[in-house]
Amino acid sequence: MSGYRMVGYAAGAGLVLLGFAGLLADADQTRPLSWAVWFGGILIAHDLLLVPLVLATGVLTRRMRRPYRAALVIGAVITLVALPMVLGFGRRADNPSQLPLDYGLNLVVILAVIAAAGFAAGTLARVREARPPRPRG
């Protein structure tokens, strides 16, 4: 093993240990049990729920045109990022400037624009395919 690798492994392991030591030292704030539940829970939700769902969608949309699939991927990502605002659990009656927008409506508008763009790109691709190839000369 080269010196660079050793230094890298040592630095990496040191930082990991520092992180765990800090988590435990600050237990009154980090609540290691709650932390562990979320640390493991998000991983399990991703590996055993989200990815299989994505894989299944991928199989179901196998024959879909590429621009449509791209629009689906982009729309899904934006939905995921927007979801906490759409659900609005962070709203506070005494603070209207916190989550001030109509996020549900905004998301619908954004998804409509993404769908329209995907449809336009798909139509364009179909028109191009239908065109007979130019004779070379």
């Binding site: 609540r31 906490p84 916190q98 927008l101 905004n106």
Partner: protein, 366 residues
Amino acid sequence: MVDKPALTEKVVFTSGLRSEGVAARLGALLGISFTLALITGLFSHFMQHPPPWLDWPSRPIGLYRVTQGVHVISGLATIPLLLAKLWAVYPKLWQWPPFRSAAHAVERAFVLLLVAGALFQLFTGLLNIAYTYPWSFFFPAAHYWTSFIVYGALIIHVVTEWSKVRRSVPVPLEPARRRFLLTIGAASGLTVLLTVGEAFAPLRRLALIAPRNPAIGPQGLPVNRTSQAAGVRPVDASYRLVVTGAVQAEYSYQDLVRLPQHTVELPIACVEGWSASARWTGVRLRDLVAGAPPDALVTVESLERPSGVYRTSELRPPHWNDPLTLLALRVNGETLHLEHGYPLRLIAPDRPGVMQTKWVTKVVVS
């Protein structure tokens, strides 16, 4: 040595979009993004918890606004990159046999920490800026310590995989895989476009899914901590600003109004990534503590009930000496709204919003 694809990869995971080249490119981008997050995150942490020997400069006035905006917005932009990368290497999760050797088992344990930690940082970070806290830990502490776990595991992963990156990144990608990366890039770019306006006012109309709009709030400015949350009621004529310690004085509200007033344009830059500029009018802090020793520490205290974490904030010499640092009485040409800290609030350049104390009633010079 090239890993031979396991049987599961051939039979179950049929997508031709996965390849070492795709994973390596996404990995390189994630490495850059997490490095940026670590640097800007540590900057924010040590600005709020400076060691005794470290006096942050008070200029440029918008530095914290930029670093924290980058921290949060680039974090959001990383979500599609991370999901795409994990999808691209997902078959490896089910490799058989799971451990080829003790060293391989250790390597995979660090990969588990890296994946769980990266997902944890981004997912809890997203919920945090949406003011949703379905956990019992204090987010800043958990986020801070987890960043070391993630970055340590990331270094180990980079060392392990570096040869693959060097081998496959120079090789051009096939069109279909390039299109896949472009799609992920578009998702990242669109995420930025739809949120960055919470910090970058010219794009605020596009910030359709951002938790804040820099122009929405009392007096055209967002509020973070409300008077209700802080347990503060409007003050009456008995209000006094007390200066104590190395400098001693007492001012009524009218006294403060009669002192020389200065107007400055400064941003409120929140640790959650949003920021908004405003015109503040008030008394220079350095005028109020005139005669203090040059290395003095100045602490401002709020009317907020004693339990608040951010009830007081400390100013080191670069900040309290800065002519732009005010105890403000007005914002955008109006008397401060109670929610912005009436009667008096601190506003200083290049400083996290949680340290711009509202409802100031005491200044301690030590």
